[in-house]
Subunit: 553 residues, 2 copies
Amino acid sequence: MEISELQKARYEYKPKLPASLSLALDEIAVKEGGPTEALSDREEFKKIFARTYGKPVVAFSKGGEGRKLSRRALRVGAILSGGQAPGGHNVIAGLYDGLKAGNPDSALFGFLDGPGGLVDGKHVELSAQAIDAHRNTGGFDIIGSGRTKIETPEQFAASLETAKKLALDAIVVIGGDDSNTNAALLAEYFLEKGSDVKVIGCPKTIDGDLKNDFIETSFGFDTACKTYGELIGNLARDAGSAKKHWHFVRLMGRAASHIALECALRTKPNVCLISEEIEAKALSLESVAGSIVDSIVKRAVKGDDFGVVLIPEGLVEFVPEIKRLIAELNDAVSGDAADEGLSLEARLEGLSSRVSAESMRALRAMPADIAGEFLADRDPHGNVQVSKIQTEKLLVGMVEARLRELKKQGAYKGKFTPQTHFFGYEGRCAFPSNFDADYCYALGFGAFALVAAGLTGYISCARNLTAPAAEWEAGGAPLTMMMNIERRHGAQKPVIKKALVDLDGRPFRAFAALRDDLAVHSRYVFPGAIQYWGPPEVSDDVTATLRLERGGE
Amino acid sequence: MEISELQKARYEYKPKLPASLSLALDEIAVKEGGPTEALSDREEFKKIFARTYGKPVVAFSKGGEGRKLSRRALRVGAILSGGQAPGGHNVIAGLYDGLKAGNPDSALFGFLDGPGGLVDGKHVELSAQAIDAHRNTGGFDIIGSGRTKIETPEQFAASLETAKKLALDAIVVIGGDDSNTNAALLAEYFLEKGSDVKVIGCPKTIDGDLKNDFIETSFGFDTACKTYGELIGNLARDAGSAKKHWHFVRLMGRAASHIALECALRTKPNVCLISEEIEAKALSLESVAGSIVDSIVKRAVKGDDFGVVLIPEGLVEFVPEIKRLIAELNDAVSGDAADEGLSLEARLEGLSSRVSAESMRALRAMPADIAGEFLADRDPHGNVQVSKIQTEKLLVGMVEARLRELKKQGAYKGKFTPQTHFFGYEGRCAFPSNFDADYCYALGFGAFALVAAGLTGYISCARNLTAPAAEWEAGGAPLTMMMNIERRHGAQKPVIKKALVDLDGRPFRAFAALRDDLAVHSRYVFPGAIQYWGPPEVSDDVTATLRLERGGE
């Protein structure tokens, strides 16, 4: 197996640990805070989570009062759940190193290809060699990932069965909000069934939307944004050199616009759309396109027929008329194969009796290929596949139409040459930045410590992340305190609350304060490629989002 | 102006120079070899280049016989020509530093936005501050670039006029094969008109197709391929983690497939198409798609419904039936606005009397949106815009159709989920790798030395590039020795010969020896982001293409 020089060199990197996890294990005390509450519907939560609700937040510290870590041999299973995020391998490495430090006879198993591996009992025991081959690398390929949700009584029972067969002490779920919700439900279920298998979560998602008082950032966000920032900076430099392209960049991140916002703070593009703002102001797609047109027209006056526009992947779901269109299509259209041979026009005709006139207008106003994307194959739940809609091309089409009008009116004399891009998969499996390598290793090591402290239904945390790693505050928080009740697929369900971009938060306000200027002038910043060595301000920096949220500038 | 931490840190980087250019200038001798010849049509060349033909190759060395560098104050104008390539700013910085080392009263001017700046006399004098603000950065934004060709007698006369007005001693043209052909013609023209303004070229292009005995690699190829390699490696890691996507990646590089080949050598994808091979074997598009289908089917048998396919941008021009289609369309279709409102079907109908039946079949076999791209707006010369054709989607469409057939026959049981990408602009303006930063600085410094030696019609060279920079052999080669006569736009013209991928060369053979294995197995290599610091094997490596061509493994 050929290994790149970078990968070989990264094997030698020793992730930095918080001081409280660098101690001899017997010195670590697990301090408890007061009882906690869910974010809403507390009585309901007390029923659903009868055995795990209301537990205290815990922090690791040196000596003194508090639980101690068990040194007995432990058997733990790890699951990588959902989309890849840089650093997942380091969570597993930290967990492994913690287990082996606790007791050399401890064993770590990996469930294969996501939560389905737990349900089906598909697993491997992770050897020291396997761990070493994946330290500080990107990807989830050590055991694979998957999107199976453990939902049915049969799946829960099968999961317990697997845990029993393997004589597990704990399961560590490395995933996003849904996967950690699942972890909380599993923890409760196991107790309910009289099992003492513990369940611990770890906050993963490049989207950055698993965030609250105890999770300052989800892992992978740092590396993914730095990778996209590199590319956007390169495009901006290209735009300013060739002086003839407008680059429209759609960025992964469907539910929230954290990635787009972070990339905007890092690279200072001319326009960055923020879905949460569009929804809050109930902006139409036309007015969104209009804001881009404004920038193009103003820059053309200066002779600058080039620019950069950032677009969050989920944008269309936040534009009221398109949100409605999608909802109506989800209800009205089967997406079945019978439609496949029909022309777009015939399919639109067939739709007209089943969706509102407004939605038909919205569809007909789109370029044909984009309208086709709304009508294309459905996801397994029968829903429009929003992630496949090329919003960047939709906006380019609308912008072009508007610029043609303005040209006729003499209000625009520039030349518009768009280039579209979608960045997503490129950043999910990058080698984790030093920050993510350290953070993930700490989360994994912390997950071991939570298990060894006999806790369940917790998520591994590290806080104070803008300080040097030694000063990070490692501990755990009960998953239920991050949850509320939401309607999902027609039923009220307890779920971890997603963190959307806070329009009153410092990251958004920092961007909003700049954007009128950015829309006109070229203030591009070129972050360059992620550096793993070099001056610490280059190789060890954190995201602008984290820095601003933590009070920095 | 906000500057990224990486950019600040890169300002401090001191490019490494060949030993022969690190001497005190008075110690440098310019040694001459024997007379040189053009690649073909030598008698014709002697006429066209009556004053510059047949000059010797020159090498810089320490002391001894040979021309000396003039220490008088020089006035030099620099031009950035054509598409951006990482390191252009360092060519200018090297040239500037050489000029100032020669004589502090020397002056460097930059012509704005490409060769058009010379014709129109648009220029700036480059200050120490401007140079320092661009050292070791990507992009051509210090003076902009452009694609104007100096072709007409009026343009040549205007260029001389500008040179006279600025009292220039020399012009340095930083560009690809066409731009350096232009440099050779300018050099001859100036002498013909009795002017002693010298013209020196520098070999720029990310495409890697400006290459010969004296140019081991064009600058920018290293950085661009490393940037694409980073992204392809990340996609491959994602593919192997999620285990459900086939990534089809089209890579910039229209005339030659060097970029795709280098990326294949760096990342070991399942399939990499090489245009030169397709042309040599006269493969049909169907058989090209068939080679991808083979890999998909074989991998599906192993349960591996994922993979990575690399596609050179210019592919369609090398497939005989599509090459013919494009030629016929260039002749037959005006691309005029009258067609704009028509449906694809109507446009195809209109075409049927003007192109061959084979070409109509090829068009009709394509997915509608791709066929539309062939019929879309023409470039300013009235030609199909090949760079806008989404070959990756064309191939996906053909692969899908074939897999459906195989599924019906029971010969394929996998699930095919394609994702398409185009990487080009992302790599043209990256911060130059240490290699490109050093190489470009040496080329720029060498260009100064060629000017100070009183030479014209030369290209700046550095050879022995796999050795440490101190051992590089700096010098110059007469541009005419790289030229032959080719038919361009209907006329016989002297041009620098493009280097296509050599199917007998070591890079291609190294890839060809692996590809049957790669088509079936996951042997992905993950190069990671370009590193500017760290272990030298990571931060200072060269491309696999250069290493293999220079005899390495």
